[in-house]
């Protein structure tokens, strides 16, 4: 089992890093998903892979029981990464609806060319919603 998981982790992380290096936000979101699933497999393999649920009864041998702790970790991590993916996608949707192309670009630097009114409006929280 472990070699299969190792290959899966390798493939997912490779795909994740490749996608992350793009500017298009959709690819970046997919890349983050791949990366986090790769890491989830890694964490899952930290505990013992067992064939039995971790409930001790007379018929279950201790050696067959799967380690429940990494499973709990991964469950939490999946929920968190899904929330973040949704958040990224929502940000993209907002950008698309307003006519922009969802891309990763740094915030524009203020080179002193902006009119004073615009800067004051932003500082006073009256800035135009993008």
């Amino acid at each position: 089992m472990l070699p299969v998981v190792a290959v899966a982790v390798f493939l997912l992380v490779t795909a994740g890093v490749y996608l992350l290096l793009h500017r298009s936000l959709l690819r970046v979101a997919l890349g983050l998903t791949c990366l986090s699933h790769g890491v989830n497999f890694l964490v899952l393999s930290a505990g013992r892979w067992g064939s039995q649920a971790p409930i001790v009864t007379d018929s279950v041998r201790a050696g067959d029981i799967a380690d429940p702790v990494p499973q709990a970790f991964v469950l939490t991590a999946i929920v968190i990464s899904m929330a973040f993916t949704l958040y990224l996608l929502a940000g993209m949707a907002v950008q698309t609806l307003r006519g922009g192309i969802p891309k990763l670009v740094p915030a524009p630097e203020d080179d002193g060319a902006l009119p004073a009114e615009a800067i004051l409006a932003e500082l006073e929280g009256r800035g135009e919603e993008a």
Binding site: L32, L42, F73, G91, L123, R126, G127, E128
Partner: protein
């Protein structure tokens, strides 16, 4: 019990403020009251911790290694108190009539959610719990960054999310390997469990953790998301972020320091990263003309001092790092508030367009001088004590290259403060005087300056406290005993059937 109150109160406040949506004025009153209560609770926590007591709360009564415990030793307590004070300052500075009602109304519940996550991070003894708290802090801080809703703030948010998410993923991967090696993710239990672990795998796990925390702390070369984001924040929020968010990464590095010292290679790499951050950060700051961007790069530089000091892993180094963290949080927050005032009065973010006739007034000028001198490390202000501690620790550990880098960085720090002085407080542009400026209240600034002066002149007790915290952290015995025997109750006797 007080740990639970301290942790749950901000969460409850966030929910109440978010669900009831009071008017900005009422919301501000409620927030300020709650923040004062938090400061009081934090002060009580710090006085308890100063006696060497480690308060522990095991959730649901499940003692580690089975359950999750919160523990407050001196290190946790001082960071909790630091955040409580900064929260109060930034709430004082965030005024609906100045920074906009929309900003204030959106920010209040989020600030308490942020506090909830930060207190959780500082108090938890469980590294996986720390990961969850990190995510909570991150998602709240993204929402806070987006509050202005402008194109600029949206553009500032997305790269930050992506970079920090990658860092969190690395953190999780490191935790997985640590669990495989040590069979636990408890900060108190792991150092003992990992001492015998295979070296290579342990190094991989610790490197992943260090990369994650160094990204959060904005250490060179993982720092570039921060100066791209902080200038887009609303000013009082930027002051809070600059004060505490990078310190979260530093706190996490301090918390796992007993693990890091197991691997001399990692500690040495951190010393280098710290020294290079200190120098490169300040050089980048020198080249900026946007005030807040300049200050952001400055944070990179100052975090370098902190990380170098803690990576020396000597009691003197760690003590200096803790003291420096407190000093830098207060001073950097103050400088952000001064920057806000400068930007507002000049209606410009660019130093080259500032006009001394607007900026110069006795309160603002003296606030800037005190904060800038403290940051540069001139006696008798707090920065002098902090830097002296870091330099002395580096000298004692014979980290000559690191020490050289820090001294160089220190010179450039003064130069970059002089740059702000030269433009904002001395320059007379050719254009005529602009429209009458809006001013924000001076109260938070004065309060912050008083705190800095107190920390400078009363450095003795704080430094003693830091030294005690450093000794306890490196020794680890008291923390381990307290966490693993949570609630102080003896372990239940084995049941005899």
């Amino acid at each position: 019990m007080s740990l639970v109150v301290l942790f749950v109160l901000p969460g409850l406040m966030a929910l109440v403020l978010w669900l009831t949506r009071p008017s900005p004025r009422v919301s501000r009153a409620i927030s300020l009251t709650a923040a004062v209560a938090l400061v009081a609770l934090a002060v009580r926590l710090i006085t308890t911790a100063a006696d060497g007591v480690v308060l522990v709360h095991a959730f649901g009564g499940w003692r580690p290694p089975f359950g999750i415990a919160f523990a407050a030793d001196r290190l946790s307590a001082i960071f909790v108190a630091l955040h409580a004070v900064l929260l109060l300052l930034s709430l004082l500075a965030l005024r609906p009539e100045i920074h906009g009602e929309r900003v204030a109304q959106r920010a209040h519940p989020l600030l308490f959610m942020l506090t909830f996550g930060l207190f959780g991070s500082f108090l938890t003894a469980d590294l996986f719990n720390l990961f969850v708290m990190f995510e909570l802090v991150l998602i709240t801080s993204y929402l806070l960054i987006q509050i202005p809703g402008t194109r600029r703030s949206l553009a500032g948010t997305l790269p930050t999310i992506v970079v920090n998410l990658v860092a969190s993923t690395l953190f999780l991967a490191g935790l997985g390997i640590l669990y495989a090696l040590g069979g636990s993710v408890n900060a108190a239990e792991l150092p003992g469990e990992l001492a015998q672990a295979p070296e290579t795998l342990r190094r991989v796990a610790l490197t992943l953790l260090v990369l994650a925390f160094a990204t959060k702390a904005a250490l060179v070369p993982l720092c570039f998301w921060m100066p791209a984001t902080y200038p887009t924040l609303s000013a009082p929020l930027a002051a809070l972020f600059a004060g505490i968010m990078t310190k979260l990464g530093v706190y996490a590095l301090l918390r796992i320091l007993p693990l890091l010292v197991l691997d001399p290679w990692i500690v040495r790499a951190l010393v280098w990263a710290g020294g290079l951050s200190a120098l490169l950060g300040v050089l980048a700051a020198l080249s900026q003309y946007e005030v807040r961007r300049l200050l952001s790069f400055h944070s990179v530089s100052q975090v370098g001092y902190l990380v170098l000091a803690l990576a020396l892993a000597t009691p003197a180094g760690v003590a200096a790092a803790i003291f420096f963290a407190v000093h830098h949080s207060l001073v950097k927050s103050t400088l952000y508030l001064v920057a806000d005032e400068l930007e507002r009065r000049n209606a410009s973010r660019d130093l080259r367009r500032m006009d001394f006739r607007i900026a110069v007034s006795l309160p603002l000028t003296s606030c800037f001088i005190v904060a800038a001198f403290s940051l540069s490390g001139l006696p008798p202000l707090s920065g002098f004590v902090g830097k002296l501690g870091v330099f002395a620790a580096a000298y004692a550990s014979e980290a000559w290259i690191g020490l050289t880098l820090l001294v160089l960085a220190s010179v450039f720090t003064l130069a970059s403060m002089l740059k702000i002085w030269r433009f904002a407080f001395q320059q007379v542009p050719s254009q005529p005087l602009g429209p009458a400026p809006t001013r924000s209240g001076a109260m938070p600034l004065v309060a912050a300056i008083l705190l800095i002066l107190t920390l400078g002149f009363g450095a003795g007790p704080v430094y003693d406290y830091s030294a005690a915290a450093a000794n306890a952290l490196l020794d680890g015995g008291a923390y381990r005993d307290a966490v693993l025997l949570a609630d102080g109750r003896p372990a239940p006797a084995p049941r005899v059937n």
